[in-house]
Amino acid sequence: MLNVEERVTTWRAEARLGSTLSEEELDELEGHLRDRVDAQVASGLDSGVAWEGAVARLGEVAPIDTEYSKVRMPNRVRDRLVWMLAGYVLFGGIQQVARLVATFAAGPGFPTEFGDAWAHVGLLSIHALVLTGLVVVALRGAVKGGRPRQEPGSSSNWRGRLHGKRWPAAAMGAASLLIFLTSALAIDYGQWWATALHAGASRALGLTNFWLDLFEIAFAPALAIAAIFLIWRSVERTVAAS
């Protein structure tokens, strides 16, 4: 007599390891397996045969996971985009609020440099948070690793395959850290580039300062966000295709 509970536990553990399915999604699939086994056993089938049949009819978890990923994907894209935009708005907001608070609190005659210094508090806080987060991501990937690796060829899901490896998390953390540090350094020299851009654009295109400022404030960051988004999508597609 087959111990169905034991089989269900093993099936669930394997499904959890080889997929990105949530506990609720696994609950639903597990319930389905149980329903089919119960029905087959009630019709007189041996529990072992009923179990094997139910698992076969349910299908492999990897393709199911892939289908679920397709359903979830637009949400993920939207969520990430929203967070990127929110981060940018928060970043700009903190800078402006810090500058205003410093200027009004100090009153007339207060050195404007101090206001600028306060404005940088927001910037530095964000830098510190990002830096800490990236270090944690890189270390977690390098030290703890991910979930155990699934057998090669048993899954068509690239996320499932990546879960078992330590290097992706470590590499992504390290690469992001490198990009962040490089861009943080570039901020210090960014003013020179901005000045050069202003001068070049105003001479070449005849743009007034208003339009140049508008470009810097609105379009340049929007383009940067779009570029990051497109790079991320292409990387994801490349990995999925491989």
């Binding site: 319930g31 389905h32 089919r36 299908g59 199911i64 679920y68 397709k70």
Partner: protein, 110 residues
């Protein structure tokens, strides 16, 4: 046995049609479709659930967890108002396909 493409294309209207008869859960829906098709439509059971979740995301159905008489949690799905409209639209679409095929076959038989 139906072709893979036909099974895929008919999944959505079938699910909506089955749920238009009242709320149901995955295993019961598959059995219902199996019975309705006389066993000709064979779905891979697990593939049903992502489709149900897609329909839910589109707002055509909604779900709730219910404890069964044997104490097992089951996720029941039912049509929303938009889902009822979608059933009507699907019915019209498939009727026109059916009509066109019948006419074509009749002409071919002549």
């Amino acid at each position: 046995m139906s072709s893979k493409e036909l099974v895929a294309a008919s999944t959505r209207p079938l699910l909506l049609a089955v749920l238009s008869q009242g709320e149901s859960y995955g295993y019961a829906i598959i059995n219902k479709v199996h019975d309705l098709s006389g066993g000709h439509l064979q779905w891979t059971d697990g593939m049903l659930y992502p489709v149900l979740h897609r329909l839910e995301k589109e707002g055509l159905i909604r779900s709730r967890w219910v404890k069964s008489e044997v104490g097992r949690r089951r996720r029941y799905y039912e049509l929303t108002d938009d889902g009822r409209v979608a059933v009507t639209e699907e019915r019209l679409r498939w009727k026109s396909v059916d009509l066109a095929l019948r006419k074509a076959w009749r002409l071919a038989a002549c």
